[in-house]
Symmetry: C2
Subunit: 452 residues, 2 copies
């Protein structure tokens, strides 16, 4: 086959795939944080447009992608799927390694797959503004892009320490017209309260979420937007896997293993759900692997329980794998994987044995990233490098077992904004953090006392 | 048509196009800097492998691209050609705007189109090491990538002020295994000499060239490598235009105007030479426009004369448009366009009226870059934004003339490493430098007294 398989604009999927139609068991109810009772669409209406709320709970198997979204997707989709022949040679495996490359998007990652439809449905619902939070800035820049395309204002609450340490992502959001403020900010009651007691607060994702939610809840023209975790976000990301299904057909192959890195879970969901459909149907039996950092081992060391999505305990309660909502992971370079919880859909599929989980330390991950960069040429994001590392581990395992397997992973983004991390690695400054058993035990003792 | 036209790996051109076979007049001889006599292949042998020297002087119309190079090209080529419908809507033009996007390469620009073959031919000739210079680091990172693919060492002399101001490009070169030193360095006689009189020298491209040339000339295992200007570099870049010729056919259109930004001239040559072939043959009559910064107006304000390629007067003398080898342009953000001379081939075609030239100030260029980013989504490099600006100017001119034209430009690279420039623009800190008439007059008075 060719080095990469490209599809035409007309081959962009016409529908998203909704795995809720095929899951062996329905997802657990989302609970109101105050009453502990299941919440309904109306509870979410102040935050999200109704079209997204409907997608959040829909059990329809295929949900049409509006033409206007497909036309914008065409700015970078279908994304290429590569056969990693040069990587295979570099690690001397007999297995066939494939990767889907989402770094070709304008924001450099898979995130615009959902920021574009989110902006679209907000525009259709007559909203004028979107508020969101961002850590290192990947999601914020994707949302700013989506909002810009539909003439919406965007306001991004960026964790203050990142705002100052990572000015390039802030600048990219501003190029796309976003208003970016360091969080905690003077713009919300919650932010002002924190600043009044701690004027030098470095901020946190939990605080930034609280600010963005308050902003959206208190302004009728404004919605809140989330870049991962939720069902409708996972749904939008299935364009990745749906394209891969077609590209694997052209390659005349089918993956024995499908791999994605896992923070909130949306890129993992995106590449794997269309293949999990085959697995659930019993027509194929791919292994599906979610890869997380050893310093934030939600799926491998967490518990499957009801918990809050944020540190400040403002969000509804969802059943998911969690390390506890006040677990604070070590400051690894894969910032996008530092989340205490996980997508409820990915969590349930993991709990039911349809998805496996692996956790790796960052020095091994960066070692694999360098092998990849020097053979395939693409500089991978530290998050995506977890999937690369797992693919290499699995290829070597197959070699040892005398098997020749087809291994597919999602290269969810490029690392042009993460070069300081590579500099640390090359300079021998990267450290592996101990398995945070004590911190996990402590955080898990604070889980809310609700749910099944 | 679709938003973008993609081709398959198998449609990567099998040959480069050599415009020397079709030029109305042969290129002027290159002269020895000492004797003033034409130089031959043997004079260049200490610096370049013979295969590249042969390409430098060949008059064969199509030169085969070795399969091994095409396989590496396939990591990102064929690159997509877009119909810029969203840009057209944003500027309300009736013309059709197309752009070729070279930012999809691993180094983020068109430069690997030549760094890969240069590394290949050096490997074939048994060289073990390549030395080169780099300013802001675009070329250095492309060469590091090429060398890495063929297991060659690379040594990059990076202008000291950029080495410290732009650490990300230095880090990218190191990821690809290059040894990068700030120039002037202690590693060459020339560098040591400068440091002994001026330990705080910020360096210059002229000094860095001298160091790289000395490195290559004094070590038998080492070649020198240049990222633009030379004939063989322009030759390699023609893959860009050759793909565009096929993509325009699929779009069922032909460009009335072909536009490239012009520093050393290679990306300009790449997109335009295959279309100039039609123009020279008389079968078509596209206008071909080279766009330069008003602060370094080589083609628009320089003279067509013999001059040195470098400040230190070490290189052979070539006939080209020049502002004088000691002209120092203002510190604009489009660092890749700050060169006193131009490709001899582009210069001659310009002199003979086959290529037009335009010069623009940077604030207008950044204004167009922002319109482009917010409509097409891609963040363009400041250099490439000169071509965007010209395309917008030409579309508006066509509108005023009541014409509907097809306008094609080369988007030669992305701007993820140039966000500080956008920040300056958005913060109102960008200045336009006066036309440097006095500095040009002064520098032109130092032209060597040789040649026709």
């Amino acid at each position: 086959m060719e080095t990469k398989i490209v599809l035409k604009d007309s081959e962009i999927p016409k529908t998203w795939y909704n795995i809720m139609a095929d899951m062996p068991n329905p997802p657990e109810a989302v609970l109101h944080p105050g009453t502990g009772k299941p919440i309904g669409p109306d509870d979410l209406a102040p935050l999200f447009p109704m079209a997204l709320i409907e997608q959040e709970v829909s059990t329809q198997r295929f949900i049409p992608i509006p033409d206007e979204i497909r036309r914008i997707y065409a700015l970078w989709r279908p994304s290429p799927m590569y056969r990693a022949k040069r990587l295979e040679e570099a690690i001397k495996t007999r297995s066939r390694i494939y990767y889907k490359y989402e770094g070709v998007s304008p924001a450099g990652s898979h995130k615009p797959n959902t920021s574009i439809p989110q902006a679209y449905y907000n525009k259709m619902a007559g909203r004028k503004r979107i508020a969101t939070e961002t850590g290192a800035g990947q999601w914020g820049s994707a949302l700013a892009l989506g909002a810009s395309f539909f003439g919406l204002e965007s306001k991004v609450y960026m964790v203050k320490v990142s705002y100052h340490q990572k000015p390039y992502r802030r600048m990219l959001m501003e190029v796309f017209g976003a208003k970016v403020v360091p969080s905690p900010s003077e713009d919300t009651q919650c932010g002002r309260q924190i600043l009044s007691t701690d004027p030098d607060s470095p901020g946190s994702l939990g605080i930034a979420i609280s600010e963005a939610v308050e902003d959206a809840a208190t302004r009728e023209d404004t919605s809140y937007s989330l870049g991962s975790v939720l069902n409708h976000v996972c749904l939008h990301q299935t364009v990745v896997g749906l394209e891969c299904v077609e590209q694997m057909k052209i390659a005349n192959d089918y993956p024995d293993v499908v791999i994605g890195c896992c923070g909130g879970g949306s890129n993992m969901a995106g590449i794997s759900f269309p293949f999990l459909r085959d697995k659930i149907a019993g027509s194929r039996n791919p292994r599906v692997i979610a890869v997380e950092p050893a310093s934030c081992p939600t799926l491998t060391k967490g518990v499957y329980a009801y918990d809050f999505g944020d540190t400040a305990r403002l969000t509804p309660l969802v059943k998911m794998y969690t390390l506890g909502h006040d677990f604070i992971p070590a400051g690894i370079h894969a910032g996008g994987l530092r989340y205490h919880g996980d997508s409820p859909l990915v969590s349930q599929l993991c709990h039911e044995g349809l998805i496996e989980a692996q956790a790796y330390h960052q020095t091994g991950v960066f070692q694999s990233a360098l092998v990849f960069a020097r053979s395939e040429g693409i500089l991978p994001a530290p998050e995506s490098s977890h999937a690369i590392h797992s693919a290499i581990v699995e290829a070597k395992r197959a070699d040892e077992e005398g098997k020749e397997e087809a291994i597919l992973f999602n290269l969810s983004g490029h690392g042009f904004f993460d070069l300081a991390a590579y500099d640390d690695y090359l300079g021998g400054k990267l450290v592996d953090h101990e398995h945070p058993e004590n911190k996990i035990r402590e955080a898990l003792s604070h889980l809310p006392k609700v749910g099944a």
